[in-house]
């Protein structure tokens, strides 16, 4: 590997440009400290393979991190369900944001509906809707053709709509906001 200043410069740019999005992805899959270790390991791999990485690097990096996550499950790290992570990371800010968005279903119920979905579906949905990957990029992450990814995305969307539809609509949708406001007042 070329250990020149140029390589170091390119790698630093790669790290600074992509670190947050790679960690954002991993943090929704495992506890924060483990997530940081996995991203650290991801960039060790990226340094070794620097000459082979083509732009945009993000799908490749998330792909490496995702593989490490899958491997970690067997070796003590626990890969967490996405809904567990969302529940653990929920703050008052999230409750307020939910009310502002004026959704017909309560957040808890929507989250419960999402928790019932397969991790594979949630992976596909979150890559596109949370982490901002274009379907072509997300296809690279999960290791399939763009066409196949569209099929997966379509099915995941269909199942998401179905899961949310079967969650009962909220009758007291100001509930969460007032709860948050009460908390803030205290």
């Amino acid at each position: 590997m070329d250990d020149s200043e140029d390589s170091r410069k390119r790698f630093t740019e790669l790290y600074d440009e992509n670190y947050r999005r790679v960690l954002g992805y991993v943090t929704t899959r495992t506890e924060p400290h483990l997530a940081e270790d996995i991203v650290s390991e991801t960039f060790v791999v990226a340094w070794r393979r620097l000459d082979h990485i083509r732009e945009p690097a993000l799908p490749w990096l998330i792909g490496v991190a995702r593989n490490l996550l899958l491997k970690q499950r067997d070796s003590g790290f626990r890969r967490r369900a996405l809904a567990d992570r969302v529940a653990a990371m929920t703050t008052d800010e999230d409750l307020v944001a939910w009310d502002v968005a004026d959704h017909v279903v309560e957040r808890d119920r929507a989250l419960a509906a999402v928790a019932g979905m397969s991790e594979a579906d949630l992976d596909v949905l979150s890559l596109v809707m949370w982490h901002g990957l274009a379907p072509r990029e997300a296809a690279k992450v999960v290791g399939c053709s763009t066409a196949a990814f569209f099929v997966r995305l379509h099915r995941a969307r269909r199942r998401l709509a179905k899961a949310i539809d079967s969650a009962p609509a909220s009758r007291t949708r100001r509930h969460a906001a007032s709860r948050a406001a009460d908390k803030a007042a205290r």
């Binding site: 170091r8 060790v44 490496v64 968005a101 053709s145 196949a148 998401l160």
Partner: protein, 391 residues
Amino acid sequence: MNDNAEDMFRTLKPRGLDTMVAEAHARRREEDLAKAWDGSGSDRVVSVPTARRRMPRVLVAGLAAGAVAATAAGVIVATDGSRGAGGSRPAPSGTVRIMDARAVLLASADSAAKAPATSGAYWYTRERETGRISPPTPEEQKAIAKRIGKAKLWRGLASPPLSASVSKTQDSWYGRNRHDRTIVGIDPKISFPTPADEAKWKRMSLREKRHWDLDMTAKPQVNNYNFADLKLSLTQRDKTIEALAKLPSDPAALERVMRTWFKHENQLAQQHDGEPMGDDFSQYVFGEAQDLLAGPLTPGAKAALYRLLAKQPGIRYLGTATDPMGRRGAVLALGSGGDAVRQAKSDGEIRLIVDPNTGRLLAQESGDRKAPSLTMTYEAMGWVNSLGARP
């Protein structure tokens, strides 16, 4: 009140995530860079790009046929030669053909040009899809095994255990604002070639039925999509509703546009498969026609497309036929290669049924002429001004 499931999913993204990762970036940066440079990372061997493990095209096509995958993108996606339509029977033609394919296409162009120009906020289509599944023949089994290798991954999809035809109708609205809606699974019907197939179907578990899309108990389902902020790839951008509605009415200009699409598609194929698509430009135009004629083209652009088709070599006129709705039209066919006899036998043949008197696409089918593997019947289409409205 917002009942869109995808909006809800977006809102579920934890607000604190962005701050958390920005904080970690600052905190871990020096340590991570140093760790990479002095190679003190673990020696764990990482099997990296799973991206190489592509789904074989033949299976993608098979899956897409059931799921109408194109609608997921909110854009119209080209179908490949392995998709098609069913049910029509070319009438036996005499020794003398009154019309050839070119004459049919030029007549259709003239009729299409006379249609009134309309517009709206959403392009609506109502399509009935009839798909036929059957267990693979021993030769097909061999071919499939060869093509997909011994990948365990796909074994579950390998072969349908029985023969059946399933029909379902889908309503779709494609918004200029990239808000789409589909209602899928309307009026499901199943039929079997033999009582033995039906008996086998009755014994299937619900899980198995769902796997093969043979479950007839599911209710129609409404899906709302918001693709407004989805970043589109080059080939998707080419075919948004807005872009299709603006296609030129000059055949030469349309050809230039389609040659650019063709180039983009080939670039994409090259990127994914390391090789361009197998089709030549004529096959590409014919393959696109089925989607474009069911799309929001102006009367002028539709006419231009028929004229462009009339210029393509290899398109054959098979006579007249009635589509599954009983509408009469002219059958135009293009195979996936070889001479006419081989094309007719091959599953790669795509047939369009068009009405030369109106320039309307009535149906398309593919596969065997007597038992098409897929038939799409275009029951209705047109512009409307709101989601849920029908022309």
